[in-house]
Symmetry: C2
Subunit: 339 residues, 2 copies
């Protein structure tokens, strides 16, 4: 690093450090000629205020932390994009960490961020996370926290998500209205709240339409590899010769794995089996047949989560009380060719 | 933030701040009983060393900056994943900024990162970047810099990329060997080095195989929206009724837009027209027909770029000389159904 200091500028101009500092801040008790000389020399020497010292003084880092389960993921990429846009507007920077769906890494990363004294933290929880003490350590530290997408209901902070239960309920009701009666569900793993809620929405839709719930038609995705999970569950359900006419998949990538297997085995979609996804990844619109799915607004989720976090950071800075918010963003059903 | 200080711990225990500080660092001239009391109280009060003060002392931020053109992008997501893995190993954190293919934003972000005093910077340049003064400001500042993927040859720093010219050359030779003779190219925009190099590789392969280069068969993608560019260029080339039997697209997403248009108009791939992509995005393997393409190792590129940057940071820290490296990662042709 180039370490031009106030002292060097002061020494070269033969004035005091205080005068240099005041000149750079534009104070009116420094005369214009001196001010101009200081600014010119500072530019010439490529002087940059020492951000560590500024941080120490203001107790602000102008940096927030973001922990997401996985980076190579169309939905999370859109969330990140939304967060970065909001941060950009405020000249804030974002440290991004990937928990890789591991709770131990999530814990370590929270500690790193707290030690770094970021001004606030955004998290979407890992699939493994089943206790929340490490999240409480953020609150105990009085650092603003917003959870999004994969949240924990019991943690006392703001949350931004969709209504997974309702979205899944509406999706399955749509399939039933279309005439499908034996609807299988390729569900997510057991811990994440959104996977539980999508399953409960599915079950409730069947019940409300007087279709008996059949646990044999529910297959769990547990490889942390959605495409493979979809492919393998499709193989299982076909091999087991179960009676079903539609598959509601917990994510688009699970649905795409499913379609891949059905295409390979010559099963006609949607004639023999309908497939419905969840999330609306870009690739869902270009595969054959194009996937019907539920649009989950990742970009808006990122923007909203970040906006709430920055509000809370500001309230805290001004010693004003914070009221936690729980925001549910709208989803919508996208009808394409698989249903 | 919880601001437990050394002073508070000292005051509660009735000892000096120096003793507290020494106890926390495990110095041997503090007796064990005192040490234990200090550590217990520090834990109880959730004491965290002030990272700003630590930074000020060590002149290290243990943070690097990453500027990429776009976040919602399978290739760059894989690059980020590789970078985060290398950073994770070293307990480094990564500030990620998206230039959105705008050179003005890129300049601003470099200044933000320099002001933040990150220990090093990784950049893949925007499509607009055609002068490099802002990159020299990083070098002038003596901050390690590694360019990757979209690089500038004339900037004096380490670079990690593929050999775009050779990869494109091999790809077009492969098409020629397959019997295609009228090969169109949907090229990238005019500035990025990789788009120039892919075009030059295409042209050279034609020349070396005695196929006359026909500028009418080259279409530029200039919307910064690869899918749309591919779709619209396909529409143009079909509407203009040009004589061609294959399309070499500058990226997979351009190729996928192309395939979408050809599928919609009932043109048979590869019977009537072959399509070859570049990058090997996941979705290329699940579309119909599955796309032949060149695999570009994003994850490895991220890992390698980060590893070089961390090496340079360490050399600098130890006042050792740095030798800049230019690394070309291997690509390979993936043959699927479109060729």
């Amino acid at each position: 690093m180039n370490n031009t200091t106030l002292k060097e500028i002061a020494s070269q101009l033969g004035i005091s450090i205080t005068t240099v500092s005041k000149a750079l801040k534009g104070y009116s008790d420094v005369n214009e000629k001196t001010k101009k000389a200081v600014i010119e020399l500072a530019n010439q020497l490529n002087y940059k205020p020492n951000s560590f010292a500024v941080n120490l003084r203001t107790k602000e880092s102008k940096t927030i932390g973001l922990i997401i389960p996985t980076i190579v993921h169309h939905f999370f990429s859109n969330v990140i994009k939304g967060i970065l846009e909001e941060a950009e507007k405020r000249d804030y920077m974002v440290i991004i960490l990937q928990s890789n769906e591991k709770v131990e890494l999530e814990k370590k990363q929270i500690n790193l961020l707290l030690n770094k004294r970021v001004d606030g933290i955004l998290i979407s929880l890992s699939n493994e996370t089943d206790d929340f003490k490490h999240l409480n350590s953020i609150l105990f530290n009085n650092t603003p926290l917003v959870l999004f997408d994969k949240i924990a209901k019991i943690v006392n902070c703001s949350k931004v998500m969709i209504n997974d239960r309702k979205a899944a309920y509406d999706a399955v009701c749509y399939l039933i209205k279309k005439g499908y009666k034996k609807i299988a569900h390729f569900r997510g793993s057991y811990l994440p709240q959104n996977s539980i809620d999508r399953f409960l929405g599915y079950k409730k839709a069947l019940e409300d339409n007087n279709i008996p719930y059949d646990p044999a038609l529910v297959f769990v995705c547990e490889n942390n590899d959605d495409f493979k999970d979809g492919y393998e569950n499709a193989k299982k359900i076909i091999t087991e010769q179960l009676n079903f006419d539609a598959i509601f998949a917990v994510t688009d990538l699970v649905a795409i794995g499913t379609i891949q297997y059905l295409n390979e085995t010559g099963i006609s979609i949607p004639k023999q089996v309908a497939v419905l996804g969840f999330s609306n990844w870009f690739m869902s619109s270009v595969i054959s047949p194009a996937l019907s799915t539920i649009d989950q607004p990742g970009f808006e989720m990122g923007k909203k989560s970040a906006a709430i976090l920055f509000d809370e950071i500001n309230l805290k800075k001004n010693n004003l009380p914070v009221t936690f918010q729980t925001i549910e963003l709208e989803t919508k059903l996208i009808e394409r060719k698989t249903t």
